[in-house]
């Protein structure tokens, strides 16, 4: 059961522009959402999170937006840098902390 979906397997943007990565979920009980970044041969690294009581959380160049009515969240990276090139995973959990991951989106930032 794919409760968390990342429908774009890849995204390519120019350095300095905005990267927008999207994620949809089906389980209305999810109340905590996270984005992880993964470089090759490394484990996923926590990037940013958002609770369902908020609709936006910002950390430097990274902003996560949550639209509960649409069951959609997005990660904005502004400005994008070549070092941001990685696979980004969206994850969601309920109170019991059973985290579900999307399949990931590979972001390529071109110099």
């Amino acid at each position: 059961d794919q409760q968390v979906k990342q429908n774009s397997p890849s995204l390519s943007v120019q350095e300095g522009r905005i990267s927008i990565l999207n994620c949809d979920y089906t389980n209305s009980m999810f109340d905590y959402f996270l984005w992880y970044k993964k470089y090759p041969a490394e484990g996923p690294t926590f990037l940013i999170s958002i609770s369902s009581i908020k609709d936006k959380n910002e950390d430097g160049r990274f902003t996560v937006f949550l639209n509960k009515s649409a069951k959609h969240l997005s990660l904005h990276i502004v400005p994008s840098q070549p070092g941001d090139s990685a696979v980004y995973f969206c994850a969601a959990s309920e109170a019991n902390n059973d985290m579900r991951f999307g399949a990931g989106t590979r972001l390529t930032v071109k110099p």
Binding site: V4, P44, T45, F46, S49, A103
Partner: protein, 114 residues
């Protein structure tokens, strides 16, 4: 602060053989997770420990997979016997005792079953 440690990093075995993976979580983290990540997919939870007790192993194929966490710190995941479809990256993660439990991942063990 040291991160989650895993070994080995890579393992190649033949089908029907056995294999074991080791994980040392971040110091003080009570919760430990094992995930299986098949190529092109997101990580899938296999088992979750709280200290040395199992919280969730509903997605662990118990006919061939086993895991233990002795003394509530290190953990091992074993596959016996391995199948071709077990080829994947096995990720270990840990999370702290308090607050919202963001999980911190190790580098993973890449398993290839021939």
């Amino acid at each position: 602060e040291a991160g989650v440690a895993q070994s080995p990093r890579y393992k190649i075995i033949e089908k029907r053989q056995s294999v074991a993976f080791w994980c040392n979580p971040i110091s003080g983290h009570a919760t430990l997770y094992w995930y299986q990540q098949i190529l092109g997919q997101g990580p899938k939870l296999l088992i979750q420990f709280q200290n040395n007790g199992v919280v969730d192993d509903s997605q662990l194929p118990k006919d061939r997979f086993s895991a233990e966490r002795l003394k509530g710190v290190d953990s091992t995941l074993k596959i016996q016997p391995a199948k071709l479809e077990d080829s994947a990256v096995y990720l270990c993660a840990s999370s702290p005792n308090t607050g919202r439990k963001t999980q911190y991942f190790g580098p993973g063990t890449r398993l290839l079953v021939l």
